[in-house]
């Protein structure tokens, strides 16, 4: 191995240099790849497809809800729409999104490794994801599922007339994709950090994914078993959830939410990791309170497992259990608050630029704060009794999942797009799209808080007339939001051919991934870096990286 100081100028290469994209052509080289960067792109294409599929279901839902009567589609069809919207968006878009695309692409690079610990298992996880998706799509195509993404028994296990078992098998299979990804990340982060890359020098993106991976490996198996039990009950009528045979429908709810509450942290923690990267780069400051932000991710992961009963305050569970879950749910909000304060403080006396990724940061901080604080409304048992199962809940989780997670995802796309593709996108269009998305989002979901408190229940196909005005606003917003999501599709694809060539570090960002060419070579680093700097060392002109 050669020694010497690698300076950033050495990585300014002409476009067309050998990189992970052009290193081998043909479908086989992509479908049998073990390069984490190519696998990330395979995921990107798949989840984008599912995002628009889930969005299509959402569009139909909102169209139906324009009028109080259930006049666009039959009730059974509507029930399938919201079920499939939820299933597709959660299992096939949100849960994989940032980890499977950006985690896969960036974690090895951020810690100075050549690949993840188990590259072939990484590819296997994508194939498992596709297999699960095929089963679920089969359920969709063969008539759909109408249980809600939550599969509550005994409706799902005994009464539903739809393809429950097929969809359950699909979700079950996809869960293993999640487990294997998490497992891969955990081992990679433990064992493959470059020399000098201590735990507390890692980017917070990596910490966030470590915490997410803990949830993936500890929570997903319980979802798997709950789903298997529902499928078994449906196929063999074994009676585990059937009161007539001594079974308890609430057992399903406990098992289901034991995973599905931590699952929401799977959806938001990676986005928080993204925000830490973006806010530091576009303030040109190191993060304020690194240790606190790092540990808050772990705290959220741990606490997240203790609060599942807050989905069940009116389910018939005991009052004392409800109070315990309520108390713990308040606690889990604190680490998130700590992050928001630290990000804000990072901007203090920084050098703030308004590039598109930073606009997503602003959007995230605002919308996540609203969404998170409305979580306190729901942790309050006395108030949750009224708003549970209303549009207030729908608004709350969309603020976090769309206003938070998707903003984080889009911010990640706009930040790392030059690194992944070697191209820049037109900044004017991207800023415009961000604005459209922000406006469309708020118009869609803010009225839902109001109509929810007024009492409009969720999963309602038709509703009383007095709720119409809010629904009309919401549908108008959804149209704008949908349009907003289409714009990046256009300019990002356009940029692949016509975008300006991005150098290795168009943003002047810190982080090992920015020390490589754009797009990076297959092996990431020709020589393993030795790390001597902390993360986000913006106070120096350039970080010195010494070759081994």
């Amino acid at each position: 191995m050669s020694t010497g100081t690698l300076r950033t100028e050495d990585h300014l290469v002409e476009p067309g240099h050998l990189n992970y994209i052009n290193n081998g052509y043909g479908l086989k080289s992509w479908l049998l790849t073990i390069d984490h960067k190519r696998i990330a792109l395979l995921y990107l294409i798949s989840i984008t497809t599912f995002f628009f599929l889930g969005g299509f279901f959402a569009l139909l839902i909102r169209l139906e809800l324009l009028t109080p009567a259930g006049d666009l589609m039959e009730a059974d069809m509507y029930n399938r729409m919201f079920t499939m919207h939820g299933m597709v968006m959660i299992f096939f878009f949100l849960i994989p999104s940032i980890p499977a695309v950006f985690g896969n692409f960036l974690i090895p690079m951020m810690i100075g490794a050549r690949d993840l610990a188990f590259p072939r298992i990484n590819l296997l996880s994508w194939y498992i994801f596709i297999a699960g998706a095929l089963f679920t799509m089969a359920a969709v195509v063969l008539g759909g599922v109408d249980t809600g993404w939550t599969f509550y028994t005994p409706f799902s296990s005994t009464y539903s007339n739809s393809n429950v078992a097929l969809a359950a098998v699909g979700v079950f299979i996809t869960g293993f994709s999640s487990i294997l990804t998490g497992l891969n990340f955990i081992v990679t982060i433990h064992k493959m950090r470059a020399p000098g890359m201590t735990w507390f020098r890692m980017p917070l993106f990596v910490w966030a994914h470590y915490a997410t991976s803990l949830i993936m490996v500890l929570g997903t198996p319980v979802l798997a078993i709950s789903i298997v039990l529902v499928a078994l009950e449906r196929l063999f009528r074994i009676g585990i959830f059937d009161p007539a045979l001594g079974g308890d429908p609430l057992l399903f709810q406990h098992l289901f939410w034991y995973y599905s509450h931590p699952a929401v942290y799977i959806m938001i923690l990676p986005a928080m990791g993204v925000i830490s990267e973006l806010v530091t780069c576009f303030s040109r400051k190191r993060i304020f309170g690194y240790t606190f932000v790092a540990f808050s991710s772990l705290a959220i992961a741990v606490y997240g497992f203790l609060v599942w009963g807050h989905h069940m305050f009116v389910s018939g569970q005991s009052v004392y259990a409800s109070l315990l879950f309520s108390a713990l749910s308040f606690l889990v909000a604190i680490p998130s608050a700590i992050k928001v304060f630290n990000w804000t403080a990072t901007m203090y006396k920084g050098s703030i630029s308004y590039d598109t990724p930073m606009l997503y940061v602003f959007g995230f901080i605002g919308l996540f704060t609203i969404g998170g604080l409305t979580g306190l409304f729901l942790a309050s048992t006395g108030l949750d009794v009224h708003v549970h199962d209303t549009y207030f809940i729908v608004a709350h989780f969309h603020y976090i999942m769309v206003g938070g997670a998707i903003m984080g995802y889009l911010g990640a796309i706009h930040f790392w797009w030059p690194k992944i593709t070697g191209r820049l996108y037109p900044e004017g269009w991207s800023k415009f799209a961000t604005l459209v998305i922000f406006v469309g989002f708020n118009l869609t979901f803010f009225p839902q808080f109001l109509v929810g408190y007024l009492g409009m229940p969720r999963r309602y196909h038709a509703y009383p007339d007095e709720f119409q005005v809010y629904n009309v606003m919401s549908t108008a917003g959804a149209s704008i939001l949908g349009f907003g999501y289409l714009i990046p599709m256009i300019y990002l694809v356009w940029s692949l051919k016509y975008g300006a060539v991005a150098g290795p570090n168009p943003w002047g960002a810190a982080g090992l991934e920015w020390k490589t060419p754009s797009p990076p070579p297959t092996e990431n680093f020709p020589v393993t870096p030795i790390v001597t700097e902390e993360a986000y060392s913006y106070s120096k002109q350039e970080a010195e990286v010494v070759g081994q």
């Binding site: 490794a113 610990a117 188990f118 590259p119 081992v187 063999f236 001594g246 098992l255």
Partner: protein, 212 residues
């Protein structure tokens, strides 16, 4: 003897890192399995607490002799497995392959006995579903649901284990493992021991309720 340079994967710096990664990976996977079975255990526990009589009545219909034999068989198989790992660590090719195949044989014995038990249950109409019929509390069906779910899940893991150990035995026979490189044997051993431990829990939980 194997050439350790060929088995080092490109993304690892040295065999030590590779070995540590694969071991940690298997431990992490086993923890997911603990949670997986844990969900079943939680459901089992809820109904046992609620219907102790029904559980005890149902448990008495399980064949405790076959269950005990199976327990002994699995413990023996863990012994042969552990010795196989030792054999790989000390470079004894034939002994390693032989011990691994003994483990496979014992695993197949276990599965065979399980198949016999299942067929008995089928003929006694104790398989939950429309043909279930039990002379006792109706909640006993819940016990049998969990019996089949838990032992079925366990048997599935055993089948996977048997296949894995056979593959590893084949590679061992071909001389792939050495004191420098034996981690596949070790992590397969971890998996096998885990499946054994699950059975150590299942046996008293299912077969020994209310027996003195």
């Amino acid at each position: 003897m194997s050439d350790s340079e060929h088995v080092l994967q490109h993304h690892f710096d040295d065999l030590k890192q590779q070995h540590e990664a694969s071991t940690l990976g298997m431990w992490a996977f086993l923890i997911t399995e603990v949670l997986f079975f844990g969900g079943l255990f939680a459901g089992y526990a809820q109904y046992r607490i609620r219907y102790p009589g029904a559980y005890a009545a149902a448990s008495h219909h399980l064949d405790i002799t076959l269950g005990a034999i199976n327990t002994a068989v699995l413990i023996a198989s863990s012994l042969t497995m552990a010795l196989a790992v030792r054999g790989a660590q000390t470079g004894r090719r034939k002994a390693t392959a032989g011990l691994l195949m003994s483990t496979v044989a014992l695993g197949l014995v276990f599965l065979g006995i399980k198949a016999v038990e299942y067929s008995h249950k089928f003929h006694e109409h104790l398989v939950p579903g429309p043909s279930f019929s039990f002379d006792g509390p109706r909640e006993s069906q819940l016990f049998f649901s969990f019996y089949f779910a838990m032992t079925g899940m366990h048997a599935l893991h055993m089948i996977i284990g048997v296949v894995l150990v056979t593959i590893i035995a084949w590679f061992a026979w071909r001389g792939r493992y050495s004191p420098e490189y034996f981690s596949p044997v070790e992590v397969t051993g971890l998996y096998w021991h885990f499946v054994d431990i699950v059975w150590i829990f299942l046996f008293p939980m299912l077969y020994l309720i209310g027996r003195h």
